[in-house]
Amino acid sequence: MTKSILSVDDSASMRQMVRLTLAGAGYHVVEATDGADGLAKARGTLFDMILTDLNMPVMDGLTFIRELRQLPSYRGVPIIFLTTESDAGKKQDAKAAGGTGWITKPFQQDQLLAVARKVLGS
């Protein structure tokens, strides 16, 4: 069965890059522009993996992850967040909020795929 991934990012270029990479590898990708948008879409569909940026308008990534983990159906679903090298503190916060793993920006397409395969299985 095709695995579906929710990609949450306020940057359109980033969303496009994620979509091209993951859709190209056979995943079904749904996009959201911020945490609130993402939460609404996650309530409607059960995704197999969530990929989210941390710095977003309206609802930031930390809040989004925390809210998502409150939903019983999202216990156990891997949540991958995007972070940067300088954001060591943010990484800890995101893990504490319920994040499963992370990708450090900037990243290559194959790094993103490797992480998706790592948490979804190949």
Binding site: R75, G76, P78, I79, T100, G101, W102, K118, G121
Partner: protein
Amino acid sequence: MTQADPAEIFRQEAQDLLEQLEQALLDLEKDAGNRDLIDGAFRALHTIKGSGAMFGFDRASAFTHHVETAFDRVRRGEVAASAELIAVALAAKDHIRTLIEQPDAADPAEGERLLGALQAVVHGAQAAAPAPEPGRSPADGAAPGHPVLWRVRFRLPKDAMALGTNPLLLLDELRALGPCTVTALTDALPPVEEMEADGCYLSWDVALTTDRPRSAIEEVFLFVIDDMDLKIEAVDGAGPPKKLGEILVERGDVPAAAVDAALAGQDRLGALLVKAGAASEGQVRSALAEQQHARHEDTARAAASVRVPAERLDGLMDRVGELVITQARLSQLANSRGDADIKTVVEELERLIAELRDTAMGIRMVPIGSIFGRFRRLVHDLSRDLGKQVELITVGEETELDKTVVEHLADPLVHLIRNAVDHGLEAPADRVARGKPERGQVRLVARHAGAEVLIGIADDGRGLDRERIRAKAEEHGLIPAGAKLSDGELYQFLFHPGFSTARAVTSVSGRGVGMDVVKRTIDALRGTIDIATTPGRGTEMTLRLPLTLAIIDGLLVRVGAGRYAIPLPAVEECVELSAAADTRSTGRSFLNIRGDLVPFLRLRELFGSRTPADPHQKVVIVATGEQRVGLVVDQIIGSHQTVIKSLSRLHADVEMFSGATILGDGTVALILDIAHLVDAGQARDQQRIAS
């Protein structure tokens, strides 16, 4: 089938291990801090000790134990691998060999003395120990392709599954690294009523054999590594499979005392430990799984190569030789009957037998590096005894040649290297005075060239003294005073029995025996020796040896009524002897081969053939190295698988032939010795230039 004696197998194994040990020790001399070398030396000692005790070599085992203990301290970084330590360890290695191979000849006092020396070095050198490189475990340095057994134990945080980490995927990733044995530990499992549905209560022990580095294993746990318990240890895979108790103690699950106490009982160790409450059932089960895994991997690796006694290989080669001869007879018969069906089968058989021959000969091929090892020791000892600094550079260890050739080569090479170090290289002070580096160099180079192997022994020393050799040759009455000789001819006197130009006889060489023995041995192997030297720059001896002694591809030719085989790899081309070239004077005959003048020899004259010559004679151009010569024959019959039979002692001085072979019709053909024929042809060439 002969029943192999386990003690004999151990002796063979120990021989290999001792060679490895020596190699590691000599390498350590240059690279004192190298962990891989230290570990290699330790593992060799460890195995000799362990197996020795099993096969009744108690003295060897006990002695090795002490050496191993000393090396354990080196391994732990408490003692430096100093030059003194290596010198003592090399001597100890020799003593271990004696203890194993000729226990009666081993002097207990010598053993005591060595252990005393070892103690002195180890205790005296403690302060000088270099700090071990941080975070570098032996297996981290493992070269790719060298699998290491890793012991991975991990426990995830209880909420890991709730947070999206799937332990099954982690195990899958580990399995992708190499063969795994996974044991789940259920010790921390709570009663069902306290269990949370997505809580992670299990921990896992994984025995993983992989050639990937530790970082690859850590990578698997990337997202959880900070929050989990993870222990990754490399297990020392050398030596006999580990006992259950050893594994449990190494893992830190059970104190050693508990194992010893349990061993005193009669029950199975695992059951006892569990009963005594020292270990949980899961821990024991997991340790047993690792043991099983290691055993399995060991067997798999052992099956990849087989040890076979040398005489069985010789036997196989003999049979293949007979088969080739029989097949030649069959081909002859099939051709004379003219039955196309039989011919097809015979051709198929011919192809199969040629392949079988190549396979059988391939089995006999061993890399020459197997004897290079002992030369490093030789050079090490020589440089110490002679007070010279010598660096031995070896190139082409992987060059393969026939086992018998390699075995017979060892002694001649020892002589040549000894000569290079003793006579070739100057004393350090002289070298400095001549503006050369203080440290002399001896290069040992092996390489393939067609069907031959070239082995060069070159030094950067003083070079041969032409005049001294000449004076000596005159003094011995070998040449008349003032005779005209080429350098090559003059240097060949070095191989004359009793000929030594060394002024002083040292303990190492210069007794006038040796070089003639070298020459004789190389001749017996159907090889040649060339000498090149530049005064003040050094000398190079080049041994030219056939790849194999057993079967060669030959070109069968007819000269008069007799048939002769020419080793095919030496044949460059065959041309017709034109009437114009034929009518020239027989004393100096040359062919113009695309602008090159190639001397030719009339084999009819050489062999005194009286039958009338064929109207269309052929010339077979043969070559060794750079030199070519044409052999005039009556007819070229075709290629022939030539099984070489040696000539009897009675014919040992016939230089033109290197052996004989049996043809399909049962007649005998002589095999031409190309090296000698080329020399004879080139000698004519010299005459031409001189005249």
